[in-house]
Each structure stands twice: as C-alpha cells, then as structure tokens.
Amino acid sequence: MINKRILVVEDLAVARDFLCQVLKSLGCVVVATADTGSKAIEAYQLHKPDLMTLDISLPDIDGLFVLKEIKRAHPDSKVLVVTANNQEMLRKEIISLGALGVILKPFGVKEVQEALQNAFPT
C-alpha cells in the first residue's frame, strides 16, 4: 500500500473519478481534486500534498504553466503529469520542468502503481 496524500488535477470528471478510485485502491488519500489550473495552484498551497497528478490540458491555463508555478513556489514538490501525448520532446520538457514522470492515458492501476513506486521508492 502506498499511503500518500495526493492532489488530483484533471478537468474531465470521468477521468478524475477513475484516477481517484485507482489511487484509493492503492492506499492513497486523495486530499483534493481540481478541474482547472488556477484551482490546482490554490489547492496545492492549501493542502501541501505528498504528490500531485497533473493533466496537461486544462480549461484556463495549460498544465505546463501550472507545473512551472508549483515547482517555483515549492521546489521539493512531487508532480506526475497525465497526458495521452507520448511525444518524446514533450516528455523531456515535462521532466526538465521538474516533474517526476508521465502517466500515459489511458492508464490502468498498474501504470499508476509503477509511477507512484518510482516517486516514493522504499
């Protein structure tokens, strides 16, 4: 079990619910969810989660901007980006901005578990 406090940022309700369900099944506590970039930044400040999962496409500001802001304000933050785009150039950009990695959509429990284990090695 991965007992960590997670902030889930995803604008699509069905995808957000599914990710929350997967995280809970792995032992995590979803401390908050956000469906926009600005709400994500606020929620991060408020909850200081152990990790944030971050969708790239958000209705107000794009996920890369959110990532930059979070890493600027909280350099030790742990962020996993969630996207369907598997372009290597994008992955490199995401990593260079300080994210731990990418969870590729569509994903199952296994992909989320692996990403979390990499984020919190025992």
Partner: protein
Amino acid sequence: MSLSETHKRSIADSLVRGAGNIAERLSRFDGHPWDSKVQTDLYGPEFLQRLSAESNKIPYWSAYLFAQSNLPVAVHLLIPPKDALVLSQVLATAYGKGESVKLFSPQDAVKEFANIAAHIFCGEFGRLSRSIWILSTPEISRGERNEIISNQWRSLKGANIAFVSTITNTGFQFKMDYELGLYASEKALESYFPRES
C-alpha cells in the same frame, strides 16, 4: 505562401499513424487487439461549399480542440450516435475493471476519447514538426455534420485547409467509426516547418 506537397503528404501520414496509435491505445482499454482502417482526404477552401451540399441529418457528436498557440489550428473529432454508444461501452468496460461498472454518458465518452485521440495525433504532429503542441480541452456539441464543421471552420479565422481522416477501429467485441480532422490555415501549418536554407 502555400504548404508544400511534401509537407501535406507528411501531415496526412501523421493522421494515419495517429489513427494506428489510437487503435493501439484502445487495445489497452479493453485488453484485446484493435485494428484500424484509415482514409485521409485533403480539402482546400472549397471544403465549406462541399459541406453545404451535404444533407446528412444524423446528429453527430463533436469534439473540438484548438491549439493553445495563437495560430489557427484545430483538431476535430466527429462520431455518429451509434458509435458514441459503442464508445460508452468500451470506456465502461475499461474503467470498470475490478470495480463497480461505471456508466458513461455518450457525451462523457466522446469527451474522454477525443481528449485521448487528439493528443495522440498531437504527439504524431509534434514529432513531425519537432514542436510541442498543447491542445485545449474538448468542446463538445451535437448536431448535423455540415453545420458543426462549417461553424467551427468559420470560427477558426484564416482556415483554408482541412485534412480529414475517416477511421474504422475494429476490436474483439466492438467496431467503431469516427472522423478525425485537422483544420488550419496553410500559413500556420507552414510555420511549423521552417524552410531549409
């Protein structure tokens, strides 16, 4: 300035590869292999006239995503109602694995699938143009194909070229037809392919 034939062909090829990758991801959804058949057509400014002559009364589901740059480029997914229902079943199966079966409305299913499909294509186009594309979240609507496309094409100021792929994805239990389009101005697309000096 107009886009070179080589670049047009490369973009059409990237749509075909994108459709193949979408089928591969659908396989991840339901655990069975999916096949894809794709036909890609290229249209110029006559596209709107062609659409206005169409009399297809089927109320399609539509998802429209525009590039988050200031360039007039957009990705569009159109899916007939019966295929949207198939999609709802595929997603319910995938997202219900090991847990209570989650029901998807066709609208949610189209939104989720369009988000995935468009970003997969985006990855292909990004590789081709050596650039990073971020798309907006999908805007979902429903209506007749010609009206939906005409409105979206007009809202994209300067659009004068359309790459339209008609895709059939066939899996073990499901078969699904949909259309994936790239609408843009040639000038905008050309800016992704700087001329070699």
